[in-house]
């Protein structure tokens, strides 16, 4: 059997937008930019908006970061042929649901945000359920290999408490680095009005986010 080595990673650099979001670089070239709509208009479930920053070791926000989002729909189904089929019959995502998106930060403030639907719990290994989560991949100038992490939802106390990935984090205080915090009032909970969450990612320092080797 032939065995090759994976191509080594290199930083995406400060001009990643040219390749992956050219509109943000300041020019129009493609008919469609990819990754602009994560859930699509047909997706069922609670609409949510995530707001945040990626912060460096000095506490300064990265103004040139790009994140990719990968998530299941509200029923815990990924838009992929290898998604678990819990009911034994093939389940499909809603038309237009990709579960994938690209998010870039504002060049002046480092703020970023994205809108989607809240994912459902996903089948994990050995029949365990994983709490609702969004997978994130982070690239930027100065990041040599893209960073993987997950965003969980703070109000999912029971599911988070049983989540096999959160439970792997030995330093229990660090588990909270993966929790998105609800903003605003609970009485705005309707499927049409997005719930707003705050999720900041710390690349280093006392609040360093838990990153994964997947």
């Amino acid at each position: 059997m032939t065995s090759l080595k994976e191509t080594p990673s290199q930083t995406a650099g400060p001009y990643v937008h040219i390749g992956l979001a050219p509109g943000a670089a300041g020019f129009d070239i493609y008919e469609t930019e990819l990754g602009q709509d994560i859930a699509g208009p047909e997706a069922k479930g609670q609409r949510i908006r995530i707001e945040g920053q990626v912060l460096d070791g000095t506490g300064a926000p990265l103004k040139d970061v790009l994140l990719e989002v990968w998530q299941a729909n509200a029923k815990g189904i990924y838009a992929h042929r290898e998604t678990p089929q819990p009911e034994g019959k093939p389940q499909q995502v809603e038309a237009g649901f990709r579960g994938w998106g690209r998010v870039i930060s504002d060049f002046d403030t480092g703020d970023w945000q994205f809108e989607t639907v809240k994912p459902g719990p996903v089948h994990g290994r050995g029949g365990q359920m994983m709490a609702p989560h969004i997978n994130l991949w982070i690239v930027a100038r100065g990041i040599n290999v893209g960073l993987n992490t997950r965003l969980y939802f703070e109000e999912e106390h029971e599911a988070n408490g049983n989540d096999p990935v959160l439970k792997l984090i030995e330093q229990t205080a660090r588990r909270s680095t993966l929790l998105a915090r609800r903003q605003g009032q609970a009485d705005t909970d309707t499927a049409e009005t997005p719930l707003v969450y705050r999720f900041d990612i710390h690349l280093q320092g006392p609040d360093e986010t838990v990153f994964f080797d997947i």
């Binding site: 032939t2 065995s3 994976e6 995406a12 670089a25 020019f27 997947i214």
Partner: protein
């Protein structure tokens, strides 16, 4: 049956996060160990793309931004290769995206203020889906070297950024390709984040005279390897074995 896991990433082959000679990494590198996860559905699934997502001319950087029959300045090249996995199997229908500076080393980006001239006929990005054999190709111009604020006299070798998806989120990769024979490669602090010189060789596109088109363009070959995955157990034919 559980789908097979992807091979774990060889972190000694990739650059470490903290590489002080590449200064920006100092404040942007996690200092605590990564948490090792076994693959779940969240890692073995990933976004997929169809021909409807892109246009046919998106992989031709000689024409995809050019005005009225114009053409970018610079050395015309064909950049081609295959996307394979670590078992040397082709990765078909996967999205490959590239971006680069123009022949004078200037990026078409509102944040690039380098002295090099912008080229009105060159955007600097392209994208394509691999075919059934994992093959891809772009037409473009060879990018120029340019200075950057790391050391006071640091220059990036000519390079093209490459983004590849593969079939799973676990395979997501961004890298840069360099050109055979460039003396700046050995002096580049970003190239040197990779500890193993053999791994660096894997990022160097090779002159390919067989695909070079006489009186038209020079070809370079660059194969990309994504993570492989273990065999499916208990099948008559053991995949990859």
């Amino acid at each position: 049956m559980t789908p097979p896991d992807y091979f774990s990433r060889d972190r000694r082959w990739h650059p470490p996060a903290f590489t002080p000679d590449y200064k920006t990494s100092v404040s942007r590198s996690p200092r605590l160990p990564l948490l090792s996860l076994e693959n779940t559905a969240s890692e073995i699934t990933g976004p997929t793309f169809a021909p409807t997502d892109i246009a046919e001319c998106d992989n031709d950087l000689l024409t995809n931004f050019a005005r009225d029959g114009g053409s970018p300045v610079g050395e015309r090249i064909l950049l081609h290769g295959r996307v394979l996995d670590e078992n040397a199997r082709p990765v078909p229908n996967t999205l490959v995206e590239i971006w680069q500076a123009n022949a004078s080393g200037r990026y078409r980006h509102k944040k690039d203020g380098y002295l090099g001239a912008l080229d009105p006929n060159f955007g600097g990005c392209g994208r394509v889906l691999t075919d059934d054999n994992g093959a891809y190709a772009f037409r473009t111009v060879k990018p120029g070297a340019y200075p950057w604020r790391n050391g006071i006299n640091d220059w990036r070798p000519a390079h093209i950024h490459v983004s590849v998806f593969g079939s799973a989120f676990a395979q997501r990769l961004i890298t840069q390709l360099y050109f055979e024979g460039d003396p700046l490669i050995a002096r580049c602090p970003i190239v040197s984040t990779i500890p193993d010189p053999v791994a660096v060789q894997q990022l160097i596109a090779r002159l390919d005279m067989n695909e070079t088109r006489p009186l038209d363009l020079i070809a370079y070959r660059f194969d990309i390897v994504l993570r492989g995955r273990r065999s499916t157990m208990f099948e008559n034919r053991m995949e990859g074995n």
